[in-house]
Protein backbone atom coordinates (compact mmCIF):
# COMPACT_ATOMS: atom_id res chain seq x y z
CA UNK A 1 0.00 0.00 0.00
CA UNK A 2 1.34 3.40 -0.97
CA UNK A 3 1.62 5.87 1.92
CA UNK A 4 0.52 9.31 0.90
CA UNK A 5 2.61 12.25 2.21
CA UNK A 6 1.08 14.73 4.60
CA UNK A 7 0.59 18.16 3.10
CA UNK A 8 1.82 21.32 4.85
CA UNK A 9 -0.70 24.16 4.81
CA UNK A 10 0.89 27.47 5.80
CA UNK A 11 -1.16 30.60 6.30
CA UNK A 12 0.20 34.15 6.34
CA UNK A 13 -2.17 35.07 9.23
CA UNK A 14 -1.48 38.71 8.31
CA UNK A 15 -2.52 41.16 11.00
CA UNK A 16 -3.06 44.15 8.72
CA UNK A 17 -6.59 43.35 7.59
CA UNK A 18 -9.40 40.81 7.58
CA UNK A 19 -7.86 38.96 4.65
CA UNK A 20 -5.18 37.57 6.98
CA UNK A 21 -7.91 36.37 9.32
CA UNK A 22 -9.69 34.66 6.42
CA UNK A 23 -6.47 32.93 5.34
CA UNK A 24 -5.93 31.73 8.91
CA UNK A 25 -9.47 30.52 9.54
CA UNK A 26 -9.67 28.69 6.20
CA UNK A 27 -6.34 27.00 6.94
CA UNK A 28 -7.51 25.93 10.41
CA UNK A 29 -10.73 24.51 8.94
CA UNK A 30 -8.66 22.22 6.72
CA UNK A 31 -6.33 21.21 9.55
CA UNK A 32 -9.04 20.63 12.15
CA UNK A 33 -11.86 19.30 10.10
CA UNK A 34 -11.73 18.82 6.33
CA UNK A 35 -8.37 17.03 6.05
CA UNK A 36 -7.45 16.42 9.68
CA UNK A 37 -5.28 13.35 9.07
CA UNK A 38 -3.68 14.54 5.89
CA UNK A 39 -2.33 17.95 6.81
CA UNK A 40 0.19 19.67 9.09
CA UNK A 41 1.15 23.29 9.60
CA UNK A 42 3.82 25.57 11.01
CA UNK A 43 3.54 29.14 12.29
CA UNK A 44 4.89 31.37 9.53
CA UNK A 45 6.88 33.62 11.93
CA UNK A 46 8.46 30.49 13.40
CA UNK A 47 9.32 29.24 9.95
CA UNK A 48 10.85 32.62 9.13
CA UNK A 49 12.78 32.95 12.37
CA UNK A 50 13.70 29.30 12.47
CA UNK A 51 16.74 27.41 11.44
CA UNK A 52 17.45 24.16 9.63
CA UNK A 53 14.70 22.19 11.33
CA UNK A 54 11.98 24.73 10.55
CA UNK A 55 13.26 25.44 7.06
CA UNK A 56 13.24 21.72 6.37
CA UNK A 57 9.46 21.77 6.76
CA UNK A 58 8.66 22.41 3.10
CA UNK A 59 11.34 19.97 2.03
CA UNK A 60 9.70 17.28 4.12
CA UNK A 61 6.10 18.09 3.22
CA UNK A 62 4.68 19.32 -0.09
CA UNK A 63 3.30 22.69 0.95
CA UNK A 64 0.36 24.94 0.15
CA UNK A 65 0.85 28.65 0.89
CA UNK A 66 -2.30 30.55 1.86
CA UNK A 67 -1.81 34.30 1.51
CA UNK A 68 -4.28 36.98 2.46
CA UNK A 69 -3.05 39.62 0.03
CA UNK A 70 -0.97 40.08 -3.08
CA UNK A 71 2.22 40.56 -1.09
CA UNK A 72 2.32 36.74 -0.91
CA UNK A 73 4.48 36.61 2.24
CA UNK A 74 3.84 32.92 2.88
CA UNK A 75 4.58 31.83 -0.70
CA UNK A 76 7.72 33.96 -0.91
CA UNK A 77 8.98 32.88 2.52
CA UNK A 78 8.63 29.19 1.80
CA UNK A 79 10.31 29.61 -1.59
CA UNK A 80 13.15 31.66 -0.10
CA UNK A 81 13.96 29.51 2.90
CA UNK A 82 12.93 26.03 1.80
CA UNK A 83 11.60 25.23 -1.65
CA UNK A 84 8.79 26.41 -3.89
CA UNK A 85 5.35 25.46 -2.51
CA UNK A 86 3.36 22.86 -4.39
CA UNK A 87 0.53 25.42 -4.62
CA UNK A 88 -0.37 28.91 -3.54
CA UNK A 89 -3.69 30.63 -2.85
CA UNK A 90 -4.26 34.38 -2.83
CA UNK A 91 -7.39 35.10 -0.76
CA UNK A 92 -7.67 38.69 -2.00
CA UNK A 93 -7.67 37.49 -5.63
CA UNK A 94 -10.21 34.76 -4.86
CA UNK A 95 -12.59 37.27 -3.27
CA UNK A 96 -12.28 39.53 -6.31
CA UNK A 97 -12.98 36.60 -8.61
CA UNK A 98 -16.08 35.66 -6.58
CA UNK A 99 -17.26 39.25 -6.25
CA UNK A 100 -17.14 39.01 -2.47
CA UNK A 101 -16.20 41.89 -0.17
CA UNK A 102 -13.38 41.43 2.30
CA UNK A 103 -14.27 41.19 6.02
CA UNK A 104 -15.07 44.51 7.67
CA UNK A 105 -13.31 43.62 10.89
CA UNK A 106 -10.19 41.57 11.43
CA UNK A 107 -11.01 40.19 14.87
CA UNK A 108 -14.40 38.56 14.39
CA UNK A 109 -15.70 37.10 11.14
CA UNK A 110 -19.44 37.43 10.62
CA UNK A 111 -21.60 34.55 9.34
CA UNK A 112 -21.09 35.59 5.72
CA UNK A 113 -17.30 35.75 6.19
CA UNK A 114 -17.32 32.30 7.79
CA UNK A 115 -19.11 30.93 4.71
CA UNK A 116 -16.39 32.48 2.54
CA UNK A 117 -13.73 30.90 4.77
CA UNK A 118 -15.45 27.52 4.29
CA UNK A 119 -15.44 28.03 0.53
CA UNK A 120 -11.71 28.78 0.59
CA UNK A 121 -11.12 25.79 2.90
CA UNK A 122 -12.90 23.49 0.43
CA UNK A 123 -10.60 24.68 -2.35
CA UNK A 124 -7.61 24.01 -0.12
CA UNK A 125 -8.89 20.53 0.72
CA UNK A 126 -9.32 19.74 -2.98
CA UNK A 127 -5.77 20.89 -3.58
CA UNK A 128 -4.53 18.69 -0.73
CA UNK A 129 -6.15 15.66 -2.42
CA UNK A 130 -4.74 16.63 -5.79
CA UNK A 131 -1.18 16.98 -4.46
CA UNK A 132 -1.42 13.71 -2.55
CA UNK A 133 -2.68 11.91 -5.65
CA UNK A 134 0.21 13.27 -7.69
CA UNK A 135 2.83 12.40 -5.08
Amino acid sequence: MKIKPKIGVVSCSGECCGLGTLSRVATRMVLEDLRYDQTVTICLPLFLAGETQEHGFAKEYPTIAVDGCNKHCAYKAITKYSKEPAAGFDVEALLKEWGVEEPKTRRVLDAENVEVAKRIAELLAEKVDEIQEAS
Binding site: C12, C16, M29, C43, P45, L48, A49, C73, K80, T105
Partner: protein, 144 residues
Protein backbone atom coordinates in the same frame (compact mmCIF):
# COMPACT_ATOMS: atom_id res chain seq x y z
CA UNK B 1 7.66 60.29 19.06
CA UNK B 2 5.25 62.96 17.86
CA UNK B 3 4.26 63.82 14.32
CA UNK B 4 3.24 67.27 13.12
CA UNK B 5 -0.36 67.15 11.99
CA UNK B 6 -0.80 70.76 10.98
CA UNK B 7 0.64 74.07 12.07
CA UNK B 8 0.89 74.10 15.85
CA UNK B 9 -0.88 70.78 16.16
CA UNK B 10 0.89 67.49 16.84
CA UNK B 11 -0.36 63.94 16.98
CA UNK B 12 1.46 61.19 18.86
CA UNK B 13 2.69 58.23 16.87
CA UNK B 14 0.69 55.09 17.64
CA UNK B 15 2.26 52.36 19.75
CA UNK B 16 2.81 49.24 17.66
CA UNK B 17 1.53 45.92 19.01
CA UNK B 18 2.90 42.81 17.33
CA UNK B 19 1.36 39.44 18.23
CA UNK B 20 2.97 36.18 17.15
CA UNK B 21 -0.34 34.92 15.65
CA UNK B 22 0.86 31.34 16.19
CA UNK B 23 -1.48 28.91 14.48
CA UNK B 24 -0.88 25.62 16.28
CA UNK B 25 -2.47 26.38 19.67
CA UNK B 26 -4.99 28.80 21.11
CA UNK B 27 -2.27 31.02 22.60
CA UNK B 28 -1.45 32.64 19.26
CA UNK B 29 -5.15 33.28 18.67
CA UNK B 30 -5.44 34.93 22.10
CA UNK B 31 -2.46 37.20 21.33
CA UNK B 32 -3.98 38.12 18.01
CA UNK B 33 -7.49 38.71 19.35
CA UNK B 34 -6.20 40.92 22.18
CA UNK B 35 -4.18 42.98 19.70
CA UNK B 36 -7.21 43.66 17.52
CA UNK B 37 -9.33 44.52 20.56
CA UNK B 38 -6.83 47.22 21.51
CA UNK B 39 -6.09 48.59 18.03
CA UNK B 40 -9.67 48.59 16.76
CA UNK B 41 -11.84 48.93 19.87
CA UNK B 42 -10.07 50.02 23.06
CA UNK B 43 -7.35 52.40 21.81
CA UNK B 44 -7.94 53.15 18.11
CA UNK B 45 -5.47 55.75 16.90
CA UNK B 46 -3.23 55.23 19.92
CA UNK B 47 -2.29 51.64 19.01
CA UNK B 48 -1.65 49.98 15.69
CA UNK B 49 -0.27 46.71 14.37
CA UNK B 50 1.39 45.38 11.25
CA UNK B 51 1.90 42.00 9.62
CA UNK B 52 4.71 40.20 11.40
CA UNK B 53 5.39 38.06 8.33
CA UNK B 54 5.74 41.11 6.12
CA UNK B 55 8.22 42.58 8.59
CA UNK B 56 10.28 39.41 8.71
CA UNK B 57 10.31 39.21 4.94
CA UNK B 58 12.26 42.47 5.13
CA UNK B 59 9.63 44.94 3.92
CA UNK B 60 11.29 48.37 4.14
CA UNK B 61 8.20 50.27 5.25
CA UNK B 62 7.49 47.73 8.00
CA UNK B 63 11.11 47.82 9.19
CA UNK B 64 11.11 51.61 9.34
CA UNK B 65 7.88 51.53 11.28
CA UNK B 66 9.14 49.17 13.99
CA UNK B 67 12.44 51.03 14.25
CA UNK B 68 10.78 54.41 14.70
CA UNK B 69 7.88 53.35 16.94
CA UNK B 70 7.55 51.96 20.43
CA UNK B 71 6.73 48.28 20.00
CA UNK B 72 4.90 45.90 22.31
CA UNK B 73 5.41 42.24 21.43
CA UNK B 74 3.10 39.39 22.45
CA UNK B 75 4.18 35.78 22.30
CA UNK B 76 2.09 32.69 22.67
CA UNK B 77 4.87 30.21 23.39
CA UNK B 78 8.46 30.19 24.69
CA UNK B 79 9.86 30.30 21.16
CA UNK B 80 9.09 34.04 21.29
CA UNK B 81 8.75 34.48 17.54
CA UNK B 82 7.33 37.96 17.80
CA UNK B 83 10.03 39.30 20.08
CA UNK B 84 12.84 37.60 18.19
CA UNK B 85 11.62 38.72 14.81
CA UNK B 86 11.04 42.32 15.86
CA UNK B 87 14.46 42.49 17.52
CA UNK B 88 16.10 40.99 14.43
CA UNK B 89 14.37 43.63 12.34
CA UNK B 90 15.93 46.29 14.58
CA UNK B 91 12.58 47.15 16.09
CA UNK B 92 12.27 49.21 19.24
CA UNK B 93 10.79 46.69 21.71
CA UNK B 94 9.69 48.51 24.87
CA UNK B 95 7.39 45.90 26.40
CA UNK B 96 6.63 42.22 26.07
CA UNK B 97 3.72 40.07 27.08
CA UNK B 98 3.54 36.28 27.17
CA UNK B 99 0.25 34.41 26.99
CA UNK B 100 1.86 31.65 29.07
CA UNK B 101 2.26 34.14 31.96
CA UNK B 102 -1.38 35.07 31.64
CA UNK B 103 -2.34 31.39 31.89
CA UNK B 104 -0.28 31.05 35.07
CA UNK B 105 -2.09 34.04 36.56
CA UNK B 106 -5.49 32.63 35.57
CA UNK B 107 -5.16 28.92 36.24
CA UNK B 108 -8.90 28.33 36.13
CA UNK B 109 -9.05 29.29 32.45
CA UNK B 110 -8.22 26.54 29.96
CA UNK B 111 -8.53 27.71 26.37
CA UNK B 112 -8.63 24.95 23.75
CA UNK B 113 -10.00 26.27 20.49
CA UNK B 114 -7.73 27.87 17.90
CA UNK B 115 -9.92 28.80 14.95
CA UNK B 116 -12.61 30.59 16.94
CA UNK B 117 -11.78 31.25 20.59
CA UNK B 118 -13.90 29.43 23.16
CA UNK B 119 -15.24 31.12 26.30
CA UNK B 120 -11.99 30.78 28.26
CA UNK B 121 -9.97 31.97 25.30
CA UNK B 122 -12.21 35.04 24.98
CA UNK B 123 -11.83 35.78 28.69
CA UNK B 124 -8.05 35.60 28.47
CA UNK B 125 -8.01 37.77 25.34
CA UNK B 126 -10.06 40.42 27.20
CA UNK B 127 -7.72 40.31 30.21
CA UNK B 128 -4.70 40.64 27.95
CA UNK B 129 -6.33 43.45 25.97
CA UNK B 130 -6.94 45.43 29.16
CA UNK B 131 -3.31 45.00 30.19
CA UNK B 132 -2.17 46.07 26.74
CA UNK B 133 -4.43 49.13 26.74
CA UNK B 134 -2.99 50.16 30.09
CA UNK B 135 0.54 49.78 28.76
CA UNK B 136 -0.36 51.76 25.63
CA UNK B 137 -1.66 54.64 27.79
CA UNK B 138 1.52 54.56 29.84
CA UNK B 139 3.75 54.63 26.75
CA UNK B 140 1.74 57.36 25.07
CA UNK B 141 1.89 59.40 28.27
CA UNK B 142 5.70 59.03 28.37
CA UNK B 143 6.07 60.20 24.78
CA UNK B 144 7.06 63.83 24.34
Amino acid sequence: MSLRKSKGDTVKKPILILPCSGIGKSFGSIARDATFRVCDELRPGKADTLCLSLLVMGDKEARNKVASSKCIVIDGCPLACSKNNVVRSEGNVVAEFRVMDLLRENRGLKPKEVTFLDEDGEKLAKILADKLAEKVDELVEESP
